[in-house]
Symmetry: C2
Subunit: 194 residues, 2 copies
Amino acid sequence: MEITDRQMEIIEAAGKILTTSGINGLTTKNVAAEMKFTESAIYRHFKSKEDIIVAMLHYLAETMDARLSDAVSAASGPEERFKALFRSQYRFFKAEPHFVVAVFSDGLMEQSERINDAILKIMATVMRQLMPIVMEGQQKQVFTNAISAEELLHIVLGTFRLQMFKWRVANFGFDIDRQSENMIAALLTLIKTR
Amino acid sequence: MEITDRQMEIIEAAGKILTTSGINGLTTKNVAAEMKFTESAIYRHFKSKEDIIVAMLHYLAETMDARLSDAVSAASGPEERFKALFRSQYRFFKAEPHFVVAVFSDGLMEQSERINDAILKIMATVMRQLMPIVMEGQQKQVFTNAISAEELLHIVLGTFRLQMFKWRVANFGFDIDRQSENMIAALLTLIKTR
DNA sequence: TTTCAGTAAGTGAACATTCACTTACTTTGT
DNA sequence: ACAAAGTAAGTGAATGTTCACTTACTGAAA
């Protein structure tokens, strides 16, 4: 399951197309054009278009898990870890906006069961990282115990997702940094015990 | 811009396909099959496939605005109105799940500028209805003033959207009633002044 | 000399849309 | 009262386009 340099280039080309033209624009023809070679050459490196997408999502899942682990363990205390996790997410998606399209788009999910699974796996990764932070926060009375950890998680992730959605609809036009700090602060204000 | 009976039937057929087969399944061929006539007959009633989708979204926008107005004005006080609005939304989407696919799917938005606009208009409708409720709640010190009304709105709608997403991914399999009451309660617990 | 990485030119399937034509009603002029 | 004209709503075949993917060939490097 090792990814060659050329495969990585193709994945990046596919990502670039996702950012600029969306899912409908993600065709073998466009990927080939982006790579400056013919459609058929793609099939030297990937068995199918589906495989390109799955490889991209697998790569994302792997790096995300490691990245979030690093970010979280570098901070201490629930509130700091909460911030660290979302800042890491925002920074990553800002650097690679095509993943916003890939992960938060249902058009992709419909395409195939494998792609669907890969996306759900990515979502589960974030939840797995966030859950212990929330639970620790509740245990230490830093976060509210008025609602369950699951509910807190849902609200927080829903808020994040909606922000990514708005950012995408705006064609990544506005400054996500300011908005993200804003939203992290608002969420913390709301969920912290007063 | 009046919709004929036959057009309404086609819109409903398209909706049914959306529910069962998703956006990729929404082809003229499938709509025709659902209507039990040929593809070409569709074009007696709609100029294009895009027009079917746009008509569907326009219809949704119009009925939603009226429905939410009714639901909200039947209740009194911010908290009750908040509940009334979301209960109305849940009840509606439970009765017509295909609109969940239509409104909360980006695959559709990419298809055309007109469709994109129609969906954004629907989202704006909900925000326009919810905003005064939230503001009144804050003014009366029923909802927290720790964060802005915009932020509250964003968090609440993000939570709702994520729930619709989960419901859809689960193929509308779980009981949305229980989950929705749960989520309304959790949100209110969080945003009410303590 | 074989293998790798590319090209050129195709394939069939799916797609939205258009075409000429038919059928069953409804209006209308006489 | 009734034929002629018009219309709404269907059929079936065909359109051009796009799609993912395949096959046969080619140059170059190890």
